[in-house]
């Protein structure tokens, strides 16, 4: 468990570094390292499907999206003003206070096992998504439909300026 704990500590340090740099490009680089690290931690804990999905979605879609934003707006030449004004330091202080006063939840004894104990993680995921929480899956698809329809519905209002 020592190696997993070290990897989780690296996650924490990288996430602090994402907010505590001066250049937005380094922020993006740290966040890509964070995504890969989180996928690594999930793989070590035994959740292979989640690890691969994390890699695919976060690095493959979100990091590429942010990279395009930085590329098109030509951000590397600028500097994040929040760092030089001291707000980033205040954020790091919040992390330290969090560590001192234990505001985040602590890991307690885990006695309740949900799902099938002997099955693989993807079997458990399939049972949860399609058997136990199937109605929530349909409701979630409703939320995605709202997001999709909403993007289509709002777009003509802005361009024609009705």
């Amino acid at each position: 468990m020592f190696f997993e704990n070290c990897a989780i500590l690296l996650c924490a340090l990288l996430s602090i570094a994402v907010g505590y740099t001066k250049s937005p490009f380094m922020s993006l680089m740290y966040s890509v390292m964070l995504f890969i690290n989180s996928s690594f931690v999930l793989m070590m804990l035994g959740y292979e499907f989640l690890a691969l999905v994390n890699l695919l979605v976060y690095v493959g879609a979100l990091a590429v999206l942010f990279l395009f934003v930085i590329m098109l707006l030509e951000i590397p030449a600028t500097e994040l003003r929040a760092y030089s004004r001291g707000w980033s330091t205040l954020g790091v202080l919040v992390f330290i206070i969090n560590g001192v006063f234990q505001i985040t939840p602590s890991m307690g004894p885990r006695g309740i096992i949900t799902g099938l104990p002997g099955a693989e993680s993807i079997t458990n995921l399939g049972h949860a998504l399609y058997l136990y929480f199937a109605d929530l899956l349909i409701l979630n698809s409703l939320v995605l439909t709202v997001a999709l329809f909403g993007a289509f519905a709002i777009a003509p209002v802005r361009t024609t300026g009705r």
Binding site: T104, P105, M107, G108, R110, G111, I112, I113, T114, L131, Y132, F133, A134, D135, L136, I138, L139, N140, L142, V143, T145, V146, A147, F149, G150, A153, I154, V157, R158, G161, R162
Partner: protein
């Protein structure tokens, strides 16, 4: 859990057919928007009601659909209705989160959709503010859901993480330390959306709270904050909308008092009277009826608002929550003055109706029905105080 809710999920199939019907038949010259609106309202009535709140939500949405003038807006309203219907009966944290996201996202899309003419940038700004704040807050809620699941292995609601999840629920209601989004939003969205935003989400959230949400600490701090900010904050406001936004915060504080003293019957009663007052308030063509709304909201005796507040105070007294009761009475007196200002301004104003108000005949029926209810409902409500 799937087979328990298959009848309500059948509603979604009906919604699909409704979308197809609306999109294909609006091309025809003989089918007008009012026909589509009628079919939407018929679809709404095909629910399986288990409690009074189902009927109330259905009726409220049927009334609210009257004020929308485009098919896409009605569709988002119906999608939010499905989310709220499931939230009324949800007993699991994940379903609460999904339903909350469904209705919040529909409100955000409606904010952007109903922007027209000169107020486009205001509406878009309001939509962006609401989206960013509520997304951040929902993310926080999801973190504490997973913390609770990690600690106890179940998604039922016990434990110390309920405080943070309660903060999220209070944010969505517009309770006072987290109320700034509602004051900004009330000033910049069109009236039909304001009508929806101030009534339906509160109904579904309060019903979820009253039926399935358990926490073991008191919300007294939030009650005090809400009532103080709601009473005092309205004094500097030049616009009528933000004045009534602060009065809404005051009323939410009062409803939290009802929840705190576990008087859920008083909560629903006051919520019902409040919803009818809001329906009257944002649908007016005759300016003098603003005075009637202000009298009812202030809690002055012959109208129904007095009895909503009186039942809550009576229950608080019977549970012996005397300090909260004293604070609530003090803040009600403080808020009386700005209501009196509204009454003075609007009762003595010259009578003129807004000439360019679209859809006037339907709204006149609604506003007169609400005004009659506010004036004559006390006959039904006065019994415990007389005998």
């Amino acid at each position: 859990m799937f087979w328990n809710s298959i009848v309500e999920l059948d509603l979604c199939l009906g919604l699909l057919l409704l979308i197809l019907f609306g999109l294909l038949s609006l091309r025809n010259g003989h089918v007008s928007l009012s026909h589509i609106r009628f079919v939407c309202q018929c679809w709404l009535i095909m629910i399986t009601p288990l409690e009074v709140q189902d009927y109330a939500l259905c009726l409220l949405t049927v009334v609210l659909l009257q004020s929308f003038h485009s098919f896409e807006a009605m569709l988002f309203m119906l999608l939010a209705y499905i989310g709220q219907l499931f939230m009324l009966h949800s007993c699991n944290l994940v379903s609460f989160y999904v339903c909350l996201e469904a209705q919040t996202l529909c409100v955000v899309v409606l904010c952007g959709l109903l922007a027209r003419g000169a107020s486009t940038s205001f509406s878009v700004e309001a939509a962006l503010k609401f989206l960013l704040l509520s997304a951040m807050v929902s993310g926080m809620a999801l973190f504490w859901f997973s913390a609770m699941y990690q600690r106890t292995g179940s998604l039922d609601m016990v434990g110390q993480e309920t405080f943070w999840i309660l903060l999220v629920m209070l944010f969505k209601l517009g309770v006072a330390p987290m109320h700034m989004w509602s004051v900004d939003l009330y000033g910049s969205i069109p009236k039909s959306l304001l009508l929806y935003l101030s009534t339906a989400p509160k109904l579904s959230l309060f019903t979820f709270w009253a039926s399935s949400w358990h926490h073991d600490f008191s919300v007294g701090v939030f009650i005090l904050f809400s009532m103080l900010i709601g009473s005092i904050g309205a004094y500097g406001q030049p616009a009528l909308r933000s004045l009534f936004a602060y009065s809404t915060i005051n009323e939410i504080g009062l409803m939290l008092l009802a929840v705190e003293t576990a008087g859920f019957h008083t909560l629903y009663q006051h919520l019902g009277i409040y919803i009818i007052t809001q329906l009257l308030l944002w649908n007016l063509t005759d300016k003098r009826l603003f005075a009637l709304c202000a009298v009812s909201l202030a809690g002055l005796p012959p109208f129904a608002g007095f009895f909503g507040k009186a039942w809550i105070f009576w229950h608080a007294m019977s549970v012996q929550a005397f300090s909260l009761l004293a604070a609530a009475l003090f803040c009600t007196v403080l808020s009386l003055v700005y209501y009196l200002r509204v009454i003075r301004l609007f009762w003595t104003a010259p009578v003129h109706t807004a000439a360019s108000f679209v859809g006037a005949p339907n709204q006149t029926t609604l506003t007169s029905a609400c005004a009659v209810f506010l004036a004559f409902a006390p006959v039904m409500l006065v019994k415990p105080f007389v005998i």
